[in-house]
């Protein structure tokens, strides 16, 4: 049970990705980054992350497609979507299609940290 929880961050904006990775590493997780959908799938195959933090508009495939493909690799993975889009319909659809949570950018990083704690505990 001493295994560190693994988190995959999929975000194409390089400094946003780095920031999220550092913020989560600081919480003691093992973190991996990817900048596109296809790359995320490669990393997920190899590292089997527990949580994926996914930007909605990454290159390669949209965030929702990536969620369902990640599920094929690991049924128990929890995906948290992050996006600048705050339209209600858009968010509802994302949650219906299997996202564990949806955060509107820019958010407080402590919200993400809390959400991940919650996701791992449940």
């Amino acid at each position: 049970m001493d295994r560190k929880n693994k988190i995959l961050v999929v975000e194409d904006q390089v400094w946003v990705r780095r920031m999220l990775l550092e913020a989560l590493q600081g919480e003691g997780y093992e973190v991996y980054g990817a900048s596109s959908g296809p790359e995320a799938l490669l990393v997920a195959e190899e590292k089997k992350p527990d949580i994926a933090v996914i930007d909605m508009t990454i290159p390669g495939m949209d965030g929702l497609t990536l969620i369902s493909k990640l599920r094929e690799i690991n049924l128990n993975i929890r995906s948290i979507l992050i996006s600048g889009n705050s339209e209600k319909k858009y968010i509802e659809r994302a949650l219906e299609e299997g996202a564990y949570a949806y955060l509107v950018k820019p958010f407080d990083i402590s919200s993400l940290q809390n959400l991940i704690k919650h996701a791992l505990a449940s």
Partner: protein
Amino acid sequence: MYYDLVKSNFTIIKDPTVFEDLFTQRSYKILDDPAVFVKEGSHIVVVENEAEKENSAGYTFTINTTIVTNKDGIAGIIIYCEDKGKSEKVQKDPSNRKSSLEENLAVIGELAASAVHEIKNPLFSIRGFLQIIDNTFAEDDKRKEYVRIMISEIDRLEGLVRDFLMLARTRPDSKEQVAVCELIREVAELYKSSFEKKKVKFRLQAQDESVSVCGNWEQLEQVFINLIQNALEAMEEGGSLDIVVSKTEEKVIIEVRDNGKGISPDAEKKIFSPFFTTKKNGTGLGLFLSKKIIEDHNGKIYFSSAEGKGTAFFLEFPIQGTPVDV
């Protein structure tokens, strides 16, 4: 070569020929095609097709590349190409050009929308890094306060950018019959937890629940978001927010009334001006924008306020039959 790229959505190329161009240390040449140079990140690339040079149409791809490295160096590149189809060559024929002000504005609007997107991401990373820094300071460190100020300034910038985007989108796009009460309820739903938190009692009264105006849903939604947000911000110690919808023969009147702190006589003349704000984190664009949207809808907005007692905003829209295309 580009045809291959289109067919295979996703290619791994071993041993890429590394190519350093003048502008960047991280450019890579894909195979031998001189038309495509990419660097890490996302790009739009137009590939000219030799065979079709005469009509000089190109193919547009969005290309995203990721350099995969291991201890021996570069192991390969992952390239993702999205075919955007044949790019339309800009029509040079002057008879085809709508060189109107309206078109220029539309272009500016589009530009602003993507600029906003480009601004938001760096703001977000700056904000996050500041929070990381903040966690490294002791509780009584003065630098903690500086970080707090920086974060609050970033939030203000973010608000400005968001309002600008709304401004850019304010075009009399598609108009439809908008059910006013339904729209107001939907906006109020967004504020449900804020109402509870701030102990604000919200009520919507309507003479006729089905009353509608001809307009654009998203834009009108924005107006009510601005008005409700302002009302909430004016009521520090709870209060009540009442929206009353009524109509006459020729118009729909919507009253948005709060019993917050009111508007000072000094500020009254200025509240619709861009960037006028009395709030620490305000943008001063909310009412300016709302007024612009309402006027776009052939309506008007006015208010009455008493300092310390409250404020009421009144919106009037003309009643029309079903919208007809001109």
